[in-house]
């Protein structure tokens, strides 16, 4: 990882190895993570986003797993809340195509150069992104503990 060092830091408070990369370097780092035979993260286990509303940004996380070496890594990246655009990693891990569509659908993350960025679960004419913390739905009964 030393060769890639600039801008990459450890993501604290994750129960597995985790690094944070700048969103604009995501693609480059992801490609390296998959293709470097010493790393060989060939499976993108999971990808989703967290809405840090108070900090006005989203955090994307990518859980990676290497079937060759058995090691795991969590990759995270911050994107600003007002322009949540990141490059797609679906060309590196094909499954990301749908995981990213889910993140777009529910969280409103926009993936640049995504082959098929559509709503996944909700209807195409749905307004808003429900997993955002400031989402309000007139039909939703909110019940607080």
């Amino acid at each position: 990882m030393t060769a890639l060092a600039s801008g990459i830091e450890r993501r604290e408070k994750v129960n597995r190895p985790a690094v944070r990369v700048p969103a604009e370097r995501l693609l480059e780092v992801a490609a390296r993570l998959r293709d470097d035979p010493a790393l060989a993260f060939d499976m993108l286990v999971d990808h989703a986003a967290i809405d840090w509303h108070a900090e006005n940004r989203f955090e994307l996380f990518y859980h990676l797993f290497s079937t060759a070496h058995g090691h795991a890594l969590t990759l995270t990246a911050f994107v600003p809340r007002d322009a949540p655009v990141v490059p797609t990693v679906s060309r590196i891990w094909p499954v990301a195509e749908w995981q990213e569509r889910e993140a777009y659908d529910l969280m409103g993350i926009l993936y640049d150069e995504h082959p098929d960025l559509r709503r996944l679960f909700l209807e195409d004419d749905w307004q808003g992104f429900p997993l955002r913390k400031d989402y309000r739905d007139p039909d939703m009964l909110e019940f607080q503990k």
């Binding site: 679960f121 209807e123 429900p130 989402y135 739905d137 939703m140 009964l141 909110e142 019940f143």
Partner: protein, 231 residues
């Protein structure tokens, strides 16, 4: 068969003995309908496993009631068993399935999700809180999911309603009994008499009007106009 149901009673009642004919026709109608409830296999969630599969399986055997003929096409089904949560994306489709079913048709809502939204009643942005917001429901079977036996109880309840049900004199209007007790079954003794009477008075449901009054009726029309008949 509109002839038998719509025209015949009017003619038959005028001739001597026609009353008997109409009454026995009523009996035949309701007997055959009650004993031949072919379900539409409409399951969305966990309840589908219990309601449509486990009940049909060997240990429970829905076919004892003559109801194992699960139809995949709504045209041939008699009772729509709503098993599982209905969400906003599904609601217009479910309404459409209901409208595709041939009369007489019945709806059973099984499980908490279909009755009221159940586990997803609160804090869910996509749930429809109760299938009765979309289609008129005849029988509710509570449980999460109900046991297969509970589903049978619901089926017996529906059969009881159908037997009492429609007459050829006023097709489309059904009278629902308030309590679901069978002759040999348990009756809830201590329900207040006036609630009983009030509910019974209220529960003469005009199926057509009730269906048209549902908010989803309009939504379905709108949805069909926008989504369905695209060239």
């Amino acid at each position: 068969m509109a002839l038998i149901i719509d025209t015949l009673p009017g003619l038959a009642e005028k001739i001597p003995g026609g009353q008997v004919l109409v009454t026995s026709l009523d009996w035949l109608l309701n007997w055959s309908r009650a004993n031949s409830l072919w379900p539409l296999s409409f399951g969305t969630k966990c309840c589908a496993i219990e309601m449509l599969m486990a009940t049909g399986a060997s240990h429970q055997d829905l076919s004892r009631f003559g109801a194992e003929v699960a139809r995949n096409t709504p045209r041939q089904a008699d009772v729509m068993v709503i098993a599982g949560a209905i969400v906003k994306k599904m609601a217009p489709r479910m309404r459409m399935l209901y409208e595709q079913m041939a009369e007489p048709r019945w709806v059973m809502a099984t499980g908490s999700c279909a009755i009221s939204g159940g586990p997803f009643m609160y804090n869910s942005y996509h749930i429809v809180r109760g299938a009765d917001e979309v289609v008129p429901v005849d029988v509710y079977v509570p449980g999460c999911p109900p046991r297969p036996e509970a589903f049978f109880w619901g089926l017996l309840t529906l059969q009881r309603m159908i037997r009492r049900g429609e007459t050829v004199r006023a097709p489309g209007v059904r009278r629902k009994p308030v309590l679901s007790a069978l002759p040999q079954g348990i009756a809830v003794q201590d329900i207040r008499a006036e609630i009983h009477a009030a509910l019974e008075a209220e529960n003469v449901v005009d199926v057509e009007n009730a269906a048209a009054a549902s908010p989803w009726h309009g939504k379905l029309r709108q949805w069909m106009a926008t989504n369905l008949y695209k060239p």
